[in-house]
């Protein structure tokens, strides 16, 4: 029988981590995501599945603990919020450079700096364009419900191991703190074996497994970068995810992910009650970004309003997709403020339809 629960987004992340057979969670408390580690500690995952949970001395330490555990071929994850994720960027670059699989959850809050503890989507650039130094990408998934918070933990680990690449769940304080009905998937046992590349102690029968991102020879480092880029092209070709809501007859389009996409769904409803044919396009994978799907919609609609709780970050990708064919504008709130459905509709009317 399927198990239904009412859970906070943060709790769903934690329960899904145990159920998907994760081996380790290393983290450091920060609002608004501390429930992830609190839930894990209360659940005694070491007894349920043997999963390790450790509160590290900092986000810097926790991402490096992830590096160590991931280098052993284990399913390791962490979660944090914006300032903590900034501290992890060095480690994430190393993890990408060493081609290690891992899962990082960013429950975004208002910035810059210490900012606020309320929801925001202003970490889009950091998440999708690299974040740390060097040419690399995280695979970035943006859940819009507590159910997706749960499901994307499992999907995220699958993608991470398939591509040997760090995966980020980019969510925000609203989905983290909100409770919704969740259908939990059944317990998946922890893996008893590790991939062949993993660092597990070298038997006489094989060469050394070395986890490193260092290369002294620039020619070879260029070759490695080309290999990484080839991997990213494959991810871009195969792993684009999105959802279209009432787009079939749409004359206008909202593009929004995560919490903003939920609010926009209501705006679509309000608009259609007024006779405005608007649809919602929801990118689910932010990297790889659904450029082609948006380009194809841009041939159908008259204008696009990008809605994001930021000063306008995703809009740059939308504009790349649209090639100036139609008008694309941004509407956002900052610093922890969330737009309400009527406000977004009004922006569509003034910026796109009337503009």
């Amino acid at each position: 029988m399927k198990e239904l629960r009412l859970m906070k987004g943060n709790e769903a992340i934690a329960e899904a981590a145990i159920r998907c057979g994760a081996d380790a969670y290393f983290g450091y408390p920060i609002t608004p995501q501390s429930e992830v580690m609190e839930y894990l500690m209360a659940e005694r995952p070491e007894q349920r599945t043997g999963m390790v949970v450790l509160q590290a001395e900092s986000e810097v330490a926790s991402i490096n603990m992830i590096y160590g555990a991931a280098g052993c071929g284990k399913k390791a994850m962490t979660s944090s919020s914006s300032p903590g994720i900034s501290l992890m960027q060095e480690g994430l670059s190393y993890i990408a450079g060493a081609e290690l699989p891992c899962l990082v959850v960013n429950v975004v809050r208002g910035g810059p700096g210490l900012g606020t503890i309320q929801p925001s989507q202003a970490d889009y650039f950091q998440a999708t364009k690299g974040g740390g130094h060097g040419d690399y990408h995280l695979i970035v998934l943006a859940p819009a419900s507590v159910q997706e918070m749960c499901d994307f933990v499992k999907d995220g680990f699958d993608l991470a191991f398939q591509y040997r690449n760090p995966v980020m769940i980019l969510t925000d304080g609203a989905i983290g703190q909100m409770m919704e009905k969740v259908e939990l998937f059944e317990q998946i046992p922890r893996s008893e074996t590790q991939p062949e590349w993993a660092c597990v102690g070298k038997p006489a029968t094989r060469g050394r497994s070395i986890i490193t991102s260092l290369e002294l020879d620039p020619n070879r480092q260029e070759q490695f970068n080309l290999k990484l880029q080839k991997k990213y092209r494959e991810i871009e070709a195969k792993e684009v995810r999105y959802e279209k809501i009432q787009c079939d007859d749409a004359e206008y389009l909202f593009v929004a992910y995560g919490t903003s996409s939920r609010i926009c769904q209501k705006s679509v409803q309000l608009a259609r009650e007024k006779g405005i044919k608007v649809g919602l396009f929801r990118p689910i994978s932010l990297y790889p970004f659904p450029y082609e799907a948006i380009e194809s919609l841009s041939k159908q609609v008259k204008g696009i309003l990008s809605v994001e709780m930021s000063a306008g970050q995703m809009i740059e990708d939308i504009r790349l997709a649209v090639h100036d064919r139609i008008k694309v504008q941004h509407y956002g709130r900052f610093g922890g403020m969330m737009p309400v459905p009527s406000e977004i509709l009004q922006q569509l009317e003034t910026q796109i339809i009337g503009g």
Partner: protein, 257 residues
């Protein structure tokens, strides 16, 4: 005079007096002649070999001169970001509690940029071994001041000598972590004489045996030289080390629980 001696004569097994430790790879060491790293690498590898644990061991290399330690050691290893080796080792040990895990770090890595990771791994009593090579200078980046640079000692970023009033005091991190309940064995050794090499090896052996007995964190500091960074000959470097480093960083066991 044996003028007709050939190469074949020399390499006969009965003439063998010294050989490469099996756990060294074929790669020539990249360290400067006279540097202590080669000897310390060898001691770690000899201990792994003698304990028969190399197949269950995962090492963590730092950033610094020994960044390429994994090129020389024929075991599975991970290369950590600067200062983060104790955190990386924690991640490894927590998912593989039955494996042997060690970090190999220099003074800048362990006692400057990685101080937090060092202290907290020690304080948690992670059941790992830390090998800490202290030569009082940043070797790889070209001889800058280290957290362990002595007062008045010259380095490229303190060309007139370390002025403790503005640059702070040398950090005796080994004494510091010995205070923490998570550490079980804390010692300071050197490898400049055969006698010291033997003592250092004994300490490293004990540090790995403690892991087997799950005694908590074992910490072996090796005070070493850096003749390139100190800009003297290897012989002068060792002399300078004995006369200046040892009084400030005295050798011997600091803690043995």
């Amino acid at each position: 005079m044996e003028e007709n001696i050939t190469l074949e004569d020399i390499i006969r097994p009965e003439n063998l007096v010294f050989q490469k430790t099996k756990l060294f790879t074929e790669k020539p060491l990249s360290y400067c002649p006279g540097c202590g790293h080669g000897v310390i690498h060898r001691l770690v590898l000899e201990v792994l070999e003698e304990m028969g644990i190399s197949e269950q061991t995962i090492g963590v290399a730092p950033v610094g001169c020994s960044v390429l330690a994994y090129e020389f050691m024929d075991i599975d290893m991970q290369q950590a970001a600067h200062g983060r080796a104790p955190a990386v080792a924690t991640g490894i040990k927590r998912v593989f509690p039955e494996k042997f895990v060690f970090t190999y770090q220099g003074d800048g890595d362990l006692a400057a940029i990685g101080t937090a990771e060092t202290i907290h791994a020690c304080n948690r009593g992670e059941n790992i071994t830390i090998i800490f090579v202290n030569n009082g200078i940043y070797g790889m980046t070209g001889g800058q001041m280290a957290p362990t640079t002595l007062p008045g000692m010259r380095a490229s970023t303190c060309p007139y000598g370390r002025d403790v009033k503005s640059m702070g005091h040398p950090l005796k991190i080994t004494e510091l972590i010995a205070q923490l309940p998570g550490t079980s064995f804390v010692t300071r050794q050197a490898v400049h004489t055969p006698g010291n090499v033997r003592k250092a090896k004994k300490a490293i052996l004990k540090a790995f045996q403690n892991q087997k007995e799950k005694k908590g964190l074992s910490f072996v500091e090796v005070v070493s030289n850096c003749n390139s960074g100190w800009k003297v000959s290897p012989v002068q470097a060792n002399k300078w080390m004995v006369e200046n480093m040892f009084p400030f960083y005295p050798l011997g066991d600091i803690k043995d629980v």
